[in-house]
Symmetry: C2
Subunit: 342 residues, 2 copies
Amino acid sequence: MNPIGPAVKRPATLDDVAAIAGVSAKTVSRVVNRDVNVSAATRERIEAAIRETGYRVNQAARSLAASRSFLIGAFMPHLSSFYFAEIFRGAAKACRQYGYHLVLEEFDHGADSVVDRYEQGLRGAHCDALILTPPVCDDEKLLDALDRDGLPYVRIAPGKQLGRSVAVGADERRAVEQLVRHLWDAGRRRFAIIAGPADHAAAMVRERAFCDALGALGGDPAGVALTRIELNESIAEAGRIATLDLLRGSNPLPDAIFAFNDEVAIGAMAAIRELGRSVPEDIAVAGFDDSYIAQLVWPPLTTIHQPIADLAFQAVRLVADPEGFSTGNILLPTRLVVRGTT
Amino acid sequence: MNPIGPAVKRPATLDDVAAIAGVSAKTVSRVVNRDVNVSAATRERIEAAIRETGYRVNQAARSLAASRSFLIGAFMPHLSSFYFAEIFRGAAKACRQYGYHLVLEEFDHGADSVVDRYEQGLRGAHCDALILTPPVCDDEKLLDALDRDGLPYVRIAPGKQLGRSVAVGADERRAVEQLVRHLWDAGRRRFAIIAGPADHAAAMVRERAFCDALGALGGDPAGVALTRIELNESIAEAGRIATLDLLRGSNPLPDAIFAFNDEVAIGAMAAIRELGRSVPEDIAVAGFDDSYIAQLVWPPLTTIHQPIADLAFQAVRLVADPEGFSTGNILLPTRLVVRGTT
DNA sequence: TTTTTCATTGTCAGCGCTGACATAATTAGA
DNA sequence: TCTAATTATGTCAGCGCTGACAATGAAAAA
């Protein structure tokens, strides 16, 4: 293996392929880019030459000439490694399908300013488009900066300024209504929400949906106790601490907790256990995301499933597929998954 | 927001900055690239012009001219979203620090051939270097392909052909020895290993280390029951199924299980619970990685901590830092974290 | 047949930058 | 003082590709 430096073997170029196939470089370019107007015979000869040389398009040259980078950027907030991994999985799949590459920018929620991260990081990558997840998808300063630079973006699950861009979302409201009804029917009456960070607008929409649904059933939305987690190293730990605080200050204790996500819910379960209470007998717990750990903790966690990877896939498709932008917003289904904690 | 297409505003170029600062484009380039031979006065004027224009280097042009892409590639196997997220976090931090960008290639362990993924995906990105995690870091065909293309790479925790490349690893053997001693001292005598995929060489080294350490204590390495997980949608689920199989075929039951990673360990705990046994009374369980969920399950999981993010950081540093390659291999510390399951 | 159309292929400038090299300005040394 | 070494800046080709446009040839229409 070699240190970074001049490539050991000069990769084949369009000209190399063209010389072998006996055509012009431009015609090879046409084949590579799937241009229609190339005769079958020529195409075959060129494809053979491409195989022979192992030719791969030089993205830098292509980008420079076409003034496109074929890069799609994304911020990766550290709210949940499951959410993060799923987003990546869906986005990567779509990128592969549409001939793009993913550029990821780390974003340490709380410590960094997204706009700074954009200015100092992603902006320099000259992406063709960005996909934005919560909470950065609702950061107005960031959106302003992107609009200023004329950089297209798709938002995943935005909670504010819904008309501002094309967006891909999940029907969170519906599943939250199902959850509230499920808890209500089980006789739960004293609700608490362990909420996510205040700038996570989608989560706040869920909180509102929770209260609305409760009101519709004759419950008291104003009586719902709400604590917001303080972000720290581990979000589950943050959930545990927030729940501890909430429970210590509650009399009577709530009998149902709706957590920001599964990790927070698991932290909440740890807190309940610490205070000598049991789930679901004393307190029911519900999470959000249906991450794989929801099935593995004990008792298995009731949660709301949303198609995270598909959300990201669709987001990339919107920008990468030439026909994508005409599609308009996309709303994917969610569903309540009842397990042992409720 | 705009569909992908011609940029709305033409970004400033070196020439634009040069014109404002009254110097040549080359001198601006020198400032941008932190070349030393630029007078302070000139540098200041140019920096002001850069601020004024909002100039950002065009990576495509820079890449083309310098024949470097400033991209570092990585495969992202779906073995553990925690591991994945940590690797990413460390690598992204280092990339930021050294002026590189990360390109991630999805790799669906089991379904895909890594070499295909490389040929069809990452190779086209023309990365300057790759960082390889298990299990792909031990894929000889991939390494052959990389060597053939003269593409530098750093391996993280390789388990085979250790001399073949620069590598960053964790001292897994030492922590495994501590674990075995810990289990032995607690009176455990019937051991089982829920092992990872067969191509994960680093994990196999751990298995061997486990048996060696057992032998050193006077135990019977040959008596260690070993099952390998079958990869499926969820690795924890794979761990649960493998453990179920193992326990159903065991008489007497093992009294200690060492799992491939924390997620598998959690699956194992679920299986033990399903069979009506308890952790740690009947069976002790230990994982690997010290992921955040290890602290949240009940009982909290005994596991081996390894600095995953730092591993990736160092790997990127080796290729990105001009002085990196002279550093040679790097071995980072691990430690046994004893919690409630043992 | 001649003209028009259209599918196919070619030509060439130039995207924005950097490496190699040349030159000018300054400083150190003799 | 003058020359040599050093520092600061400039010139320019060309990285590999694509967009705009031109040219060619063959089929369709007149």
